[in-house]
Symmetry: C2
């Protein structure tokens, strides 16, 4: 599936994901945030909690999935994430059949956009300046923590 | 990488993963369990907690990862799981660079053995009767919960 184009609504929801990332940064954590949207409403928010909860599998997307709770399906859901998804989060999106993913940026971490797209997920890449700036600042300040979070698998 | 053969140690650790699965079954949850082993010792145990914690991303493998806590790397780790890993857990294994996965069974759910193997993970499939029996019983008793957990992506 070819990459999509962000709508004005996408830009608004990315601000909410960025707010999640910023909250994590301010708490000393990894600044990746996510929100999930269905029918124009946010059904879950989350951010990386590796530091906050000592939990390596709590990335922005998985924390958001946890906070959205149990659901019968995800066929109408869009996942917004400030950073291109790692392989764990890519697998999560595919396993639960989330059909659309809006990504803040892929400059600091390429992630798995092509893999998602090949498997039928509509991917929108925003190249969002605020997301790029926050993640760049974090990687410069805390390369140790970034390397640990991504387990060296860039 | 070709499929590996289980060692006597693998068979012992699979009993621990099965005990986790059974504990989840007895609590009314999805009976998939996992343990992680390094240098011959268990460093984490876990099981699916969809029901127990209302958390859809808490599968056996991810709960085990959470319980093992923060680690600099996983280069000496083996993941034991009673059921062949779904795409989320497959992505988790790949993202964190876990080099070896021992799987109880793939009869009730095929999972992603070939994908793991293609990406360089040593996979051992045990065809364990106890794992097959427990999962079969659960799927027969709770098809609704099984379908929800796997989000229809069998």
């Amino acid at each position: 599936m070819p990459l999509g184009t962000p709508t004005p609504e996408d830009r608004n929801f990315m601000r909410e994901a960025h707010a999640q990332a910023l909250a994590s940064y301010e708490a000393g954590g990894v600044p990746v945030g996510a929100v999930m949207v269905e029918n124009g409403a946010i059904i879950g928010r989350g951010h990386n909690r590796r530091v906050q909860d000592s939990n390596p599998v709590s990335h922005g997307e998985t924390d958001c999935m946890k906070n959205a709770g149990r659901r019968p399906n995800y066929s109408g859901v869009t996942m917004y994430t400030t950073l291109s998804p790692c392989m764990m989060c890519t697998g999560t999106i595919l396993q639960f059949g989330i059909p659309r993913v809006v990504i803040g940026e892929a400059k600091n971490f390429a992630g798995n956009i092509e893999f998602l797209s090949e498997r039928g997920v509509e991917v929108v890449l925003m190249h969002d300046d605020d997301c790029i700036e926050l993640m760049s600042r974090f990687i410069e300040e805390r390369p140790d923590l970034w390397y640990e979070d991504i387990a060296g698998n860039e």
